[in-house]
Subunit: 367 residues, 2 copies
């Protein structure tokens, strides 16, 4: 794996060279992890000048059995109250870099000032989202991790569906799901598990409450596993009781059709906004214009919400090997609603089209 | 409660007025929550100019039954992809503030630039840690919330101690503790629960692994509850089996004495570094100089790690009604160690001295 990270840093180095930047200071944790395989709290990575990179730690790497990044030089700050970014910038100056690009979208104004204060004549520029752009297209190791993350989430969700749900609270169901994720080998939940019953169903980020599952409810569940740092998500809506009401079947079919339309639109070269439009259009055509989320999907990887965004204003096109969610939902205030959420990897039609990672059934189950 | 928040904003307004600042833009989530009672993701609070404050939301407040901040004007951005800080700054300009202080330790360089771009002639200054300073001394409502948080953590820990521990993994014990915290009414864990067995015991922030509890192990547990936003922590070390070894008893007594010395030093007017020294001195005198954490305690509140720091370099003195942890630990590489961690509120001697919130016994229990 060490070679993978060295190759990624080499790509960043080339990118910097192309814009005349001698060295890059990477501080955003997911970016540090992508480029080194580790993300100790507060660490900073100096890429360049020249070929030797340095990871500055606040504390000696823990003896956690996972091993550290062994292919690059590691420096531990003398005081853990220091700032690794400042120390890394100081190294860049010592090594006579003639420019240093920093992540202005991650460094606070205060930290940026502290970095400037040690770099003296060395001009600071903006690295922008250079590392995030490298992270967009995943390699097969990354996709393998996402596939396992999705399998864990599917398994946890499947087990929950076999248990008695009526009478249990949203908070307990969410906690049980998170415990099952870890039981099945997840590092932890990929994000805070959302369980919404009755009037809470169908919303994107409902925070579980003490409301109990009742007969006749819609139940919306959204969860994800984090596996070796990679995060997926799956969301499903169920009906509690023997027979769904007519409005429930109708709403479910509408969201199901919207989600399928979005999934089917995924292909290399397709504009992100076109995927959003395909997902969104069935919902707006049925009159659900209010309260729709501003996106109908997004990239996943080392973070649960990364580029690309699938939204009306999104720029850019999809590429092969980009994992995204497709997750339309409709929420009727006071009544509840439906959300269906999958993680898929964009693949060319010749390779069989989009690869569905979250394979829990999307039939409307009455539990 | 609305009145409490209005009073807090009034104090911030006075503080700004004293330094010639007309309006303040607050973006750090815990600070927004302190001043309004709510912290919707991405929200920004404009305090001033004048008496009317505005909370800018990215999305309409969720219908979560908790109610929103009802004593101040609320504005929802037209697009949730916007930046509430930029919108709030634009409002400050419209309302003809002649200066605007922002949280430079929270705003990234990129967001700060976006804010500058709408404020035109309006000079931006640094609000610094003005709100954090207001948060230092807690009122009785805040201390009551911390007291409940501590009670929940004590209860969860007490229940765990009644169960069979040998053979269970660190990860399962940590998850069970987190489930119990929620069972007993916590919003959630105050931080990631740490369970360390055998050679992992005694460290500050051990991430639970699949190691199982064995006879003869030290077992270190560190957990906390979050209740109405307020976070406490408690940490204990136990011995597994019928009789602790001599080295275990000796090490335990050493850390126990250090922790007691720190607790007994807590009083209004005492320098933070003196509390650290009282806690640290017994450990260094016994030769444990390597690997000691850089602090032996810290403030708690809306964040689990806030001012004051109890460390050798800390400036400032304690005040009454400041909740802090006292948490020395010694870790012997390969063997394990002991940590003991309490949350207490600084009180004058006339009021009975420091108020211990986490009351789980600190006797060395053999489980």
């Amino acid at each position: 794996m060490a070679e993978v990270h060295a190759t990624r840093r080499e790509r960043l180095r080339e990118r910097c060279a192309a814009t005349g930047v001698a060295a890059a200071l990477v501080t955003r944790p997911a970016n540090v992890r992508y480029l080194t395989g580790a993300a100790p709290p507060g660490a900073a990575l100096l890429v360049g000048p020249g070929a030797e990179d340095v990871l500055v730690h606040l504390r000696p790497p823990p003896d956690d059995g996972e091993g550290g990044p062994d292919d690059l030089r590691s420096v531990v700050l003398p005081s853990p109250e220091g700032d690794a970014a400042v120390a890394a910038a100081d190294l860049a100056r010592e090594r006579q870099a003639d420019s240093l690009a920093v992540e202005e979208h991650h460094l606070t104004v205060t930290r940026h000032r502290a970095v400037s204060s040690v770099t003296e004549g060395l001009p600071l520029t903006d690295l922008g989202a250079a590392v995030e752009q490298l992270r967009l297209i995943k390699d097969e190791h990354e996709i393998a991790a996402l596939r396992i993350a999705a399998e864990i989430a599917d398994t946890a969700l499947g087990e929950l569906l076999e248990s008695i749900l009526v009478g249990r609270t949203e908070r307990h169901l969410a906690l049980e799901l998170e415990r099952r994720l870890v039981d099945h080998g997840a590092d932890g939940p990929a994000f805070r598990t959302s369980v919404g019953t009755g009037p809470h169903s169908g919303t994107a980020r409902h925070v579980p409450t003490d409301r109990r599952v009742e007969e006749g409810d819609f139940l919306t569940v959204r969860l994800g596993a984090c596996y070796r740092g990679y995060r997926c998500e799956v969301g499903r809506t169920f009906v509690i009781g023997t027979a769904p009401a007519a409005w429930q079947i109708e709403l479910y079919e509408l969201v199901f059709d919207a989600q399928r339309a979005g999934r089917e639109r995924l292909a290399p070269g397709v504009a992100c906004r076109d995927v959003d439009r395909a997902t969104r259009q069935p919902l707006t055509a049925a009159g659900h214009t209010e309260g729709l989320a501003p996106w109908t999907g997004h990239g996943v990887g080392l973070e649960i919400d990364e580029d690309p965004q699938l939204s009306p204003a999104a720029m850019g096109k999809l590429d092969a090997c980009v994992p995204v969610t497709v997750e339309p939902g409709v929420h009727l205030p006071g009544r509840g609603g439906v959300r269906i959420d999958d993680t898929l990897v964009v693949r060319p039609t010749a390779d069989g089209g989009p690869e569905l990672l979250t394979i829990t059934t999307k039939e409307l189950l009455a539990l």
